[in-house]
Subunit: 198 residues, 4 copies
DNA sequence: AATGAATGAGCCTTCATTCAT
DNA sequence: AATGAATGAAGGCTCATTCAT
């Protein structure tokens, strides 16, 4: 019989992660020391190291979470059966909604850089991105089959561009909170749906 | 009077920066120590600190350079008098051309994260981005006035989205070198120019 | 729970201080590196920094201790109910007794200079000195009331001079160990008690 | 024929010393870097090192100057043919007069500590002190022969105490500028001349 | 005589992490 | 499960000083 419930352990782990996220969003991965994380969590070094193998693991977990959350938001939007311009218009809002308590999108920008240096994280992150790209590509395929989109576009490339539009929003909003989802979404929808005069 | 020429000083500074860029591209800003930079430059600590106030300043200079180079490539493309889809199609190639010697686009991704934590860098970077956004917006304005684009689009928002498309390319290519400028450019051009069947 | 006893912590702190004092007496505050202190203490850097915020704090603690010890010796002598000449004659011996293990009086001379540059240390030290001056002044007051001393002397000024005599001994003995407490004390007693022929 | 006059060289040397003294009085010997001294002097490193072998030499020169100045003031007072109490009463004022532009007495306190660590400086300083002690002792001898002072005092010891009184003034005044020469001198004169009621 | 770029040893300190309790 | 004292490598940087010009 375990001394403590599994739920307790999971909750503890989560608590540490969210404390770390707070620190990381405030100061960045590398300007945050384990001392900071430990203090923010109100624990002792030993306790934190009981749940994580090291700082590295915490960064990886948080990075993955941030990127996964973005991916999840995109995939959820894709599944909503809207027209392509509607879909694209709504993505920024879906992203914005992620930043409930923590600055998940700011963490995502940092995670992007981290993934460049950490092969394991890079692979994990790439996997998530591939899933999102697949979802977007399938949606474009459908649109093409439905004649909604001209036959000679490359769904792979279009999916990448659509993802790029989302990534650009995340980045620009991280730099400047005045970049709103509504404006950016309108622009995106215009680009995708009717930029060229008929 | 051993006062060396100003050109010599500038060249030395540049040498240090490019040595640092090599290190940073290889290991990231924070896994690179000043020792690494100093060794790569083949100098002594004192010499490096003669030209830069600290690691921070070197990171900032390189970050700014990377982001400025991206901005310059975009602005140069904008000034080339192409149609909007042509312009957008060509941007990834222009970006790709930046990575001649150093991995300037990889550095850019790191710089993005850095700018989130360093207010001074953030401000400088934002200024550069604003210039690029202005150039793109003006181009869209022109297209609108020429009837090339429907009148009810918001040029500001469209400029941001166009920039986002470029940023997305930088990021996706940094993660996966197989993402080619040609493919992404084709996708971008399709999105902007004729995604919707007529 | 590895929480060690408070006594253990205090002892550790004291051990570091005495190691530092050894180094400082040997080489001076500024020619002693933290490496020296750490090696002398037989600890790791982290351990030392666990107990002190930095070299500065160690210097301050040792300086304060040295000056406080001197003050304590003076106050103890004052409380011994001797005649003024007896008291003054005994002070050098009391001071000399401080240098049992460490060279506390040599440290005091260094502390004097340090207090000139470190406002916090200066204030602390001044406070200690004021206490000693008070004690001396009270003693002089008593002597005056007892008619032991002429009525028109300023007890404050006399107290300062008495302290000065002690400080001069500390300094001269630090430079030249041949200056003995016995000789100096005899001189001091003569000055105070019967310099002028009757 | 020398390129520059000897006077020019001496003046330059003096200029560097006074710049250094300014820095040292402001920040202490060890918190002052050669950069500081060089900047204060408005010269280049090479120029300063042309006149001094190193920081060490500058510290030694300034320390010696400060201590010598004190010694000179005492000896000048001794030669003035006053009664012993008058002499002692006047010493603090003579000391105070030294602090024209620079804080020579503050530098002296630092020099005391320095002499403890630097054998060469210690020897030089001790020599100066011995001269002062000799002068004081001779004065006491004279007083003894004149019957001004009781025959059984030890002139050596009394001279040391007299010097100690001066050193105490220097120290106490360095810590607290409110300690005035007038007050301290009055106290000293009282101690020496008539502390004990008749 | 003077310049100032360059040197490189060494400084103080922090950090992620461990392990006896 | 949790504590926190301890580790020790490594970090960024400063410093007194030199020497080609």
């Amino acid at each position: 019989m375990p001394r403590v419930t599994e739920a307790y352990l999971a909750e503890r782990r989560e608590h540490i992660l969210s404390s770390a996220a707070t620190c990381f969003a405030r100061e960045g991965f590398h300007r945050t020391s384990m001392r900071d994380v430990i203090a923010e969590a109100g624990l002792s070094p030993g306790a934190v190291y009981h749940y994580f193998r090291g700082k590295h693991d915490i960064i990886a977990a948080i990075s993955l979470d941030a990127v996964t959350a973005v991916g999840g938001a995109v995939r959820a939007s894709v599944g909503r059966g809207q027209s392509l311009p509607e879909l694209v218009a709504g993505l920024p809002t879906a992203i914005e909604a992620l930043d409930r308590a923590d600055d998940r999108t700011r963490l995502a920008v940092q995670a992007w850089g981290e993934a460049l240096r950490d092969p394991a994280l890079g692979a994990a992150l790439r996997e998530g991105v591939d899933g999102v790209l697949d979802a977007l590509r399938e949606r474009v395929d459908l649109a093409r089959e439905a004649g909604e989109v001209s036959a000679d576009v490359d769904p792979h490339a279009v999916a990448r561009v659509a993802l790029g539009i989302v990534q650009g929003f995340i980045l620009q909003r991280a730099w400047d909170p005045e970049v709103t989802a509504a404006d950016y979404g309108r622009g995106a929808s215009a680009v995708v749906g009717g930029l060229l005069a008929p």
